[in-house]
Symmetry: C2
Subunit: 256 residues, 2 copies
Amino acid sequence: MRKGVPTIASFGRILAMLEAVIADGGQSSIAAIARSIAMPVATAHRQVATLVAEGYLIVGPRGQHLAGPRLFGLLHRLDEKQIIVGCAAPLLHHLAADLGTVVQLGTFDSDMVTYRIKTGEGASALFTRVGMQLEAYCSGIGKVLLAHLPEAQLRAYLDTGPFPALTARTITDPEALVAELRLVLQQGFAVDDGEIAEGLYCLAAPVTAPDGRVLAAISVSQMADGMRPAEQVLPVLQQTARKIEMAAFGTSNLPK
Amino acid sequence: MRKGVPTIASFGRILAMLEAVIADGGQSSIAAIARSIAMPVATAHRQVATLVAEGYLIVGPRGQHLAGPRLFGLLHRLDEKQIIVGCAAPLLHHLAADLGTVVQLGTFDSDMVTYRIKTGEGASALFTRVGMQLEAYCSGIGKVLLAHLPEAQLRAYLDTGPFPALTARTITDPEALVAELRLVLQQGFAVDDGEIAEGLYCLAAPVTAPDGRVLAAISVSQMADGMRPAEQVLPVLQQTARKIEMAAFGTSNLPK
DNA sequence: GGATAGCTTCTCACCATATGAGAAAAGGGG
DNA sequence: CCCCTTTTCTCATATGGTGAGAAGCTATCC
């Protein structure tokens, strides 16, 4: 705890115990777990008793300690996307400052892209707004998200057409869109070269959960005239996406 | 806390705060949340600071408090089935005592039924063992679990055939099995009348998660000769299934 | 711009309460 | 039956959590 933030010490200790017990999965005795994390047995037992009493652990049929209903209830309320948004924000601010461009994060919700983060120089000039929902077929973020959709969901999406042209370059033909999405999936990023607005160019990359689902996408937008070469922007963009994944799903080995 | 179990008071308080913050989803200020659960503001802020420092909450782009990565990490280790097993055990002991029969709980794992709980009078006489994996197509629990499988998974399962006959009544024809499963799905329970072993009769009912997935099934077994009428057993069985769901996924309004 | 209101951060004295060693009790094999 | 491990209990100690109040901070409104 390097900073002077006042924190409650006992909480951290108990939750370390909770994590240890859950990680163990009911294999070992409390005493064994306590030993493995250098915790006095008596204390460990009291902590576990607390966790059980509160419903965060339960005692299984053979006396094993397992994750409890209340913990589960807690997690039911969780929204993975919410977590990503939170974890991504500081990283995207960084990225935007680095590149001097607008950086955004969007998720796919009921056939549209929801813009959840927008930051960087010139952000107010760009027409998107945080919370805004836009069509998916004509933006970099949208195409990345569509590309990683399960087959069945993509089919369903394609049936929601037709896809009106917003600019001369908008992909309006479903078959052409499928081909484009295949390319996006293959190369791991999407390019939107003026498909949603004349002269707006952007690169987008997926943010992936450990299980492979793509839960969000981030993008760098710039006007085509002030454009930086993709070879320069792309690595930074993808690296940031990896960092977000680490932040959101990474192991819990916080420095303490 | 009616019993003399020594528990750690601060823990319960902090976790109440955690739940309140997560439930709120970043809508309200800490002060507002504190007010809603009758917690002094100063204390609430210190607790939230702790939760943030430990990584169980994160501060979002607009200052909202959202679920943190460490909490999410906890989720990854969780096994819903494990939770159900733990929550179900005491209830099934009760049920078995009530009915004076053998009661079991099973889950579907890689195309087979895993028996996870077995209790009641005569349990040792029945050939199943806790931890045992058996074919799904010929038991009450198995048929319930199969019936609630997503279409694609069921197809895949059917391809694993052929289904050897264990008794004269075993359903061996895939088409007949599909019809049987449709019936099971429709009536909400399964009957196994000597399909897995001669003279063994059982009724099985699903245990369903709030999102509709059937994660386990419970069954009452009895020899056909000492059989009680289904109309008598079934309501109790299904009621117990509901109780298990409540216990495993119910709201976290423990009496404290 | 000054004022009001609401949220957050800080300080501090009090004492509730978490701690951990040790002993006793309860299992559980061999 | 005895030994070894795990769990429960007891208790003195001082850690450290608490909450009131005040001061800082931002907005928003007139």
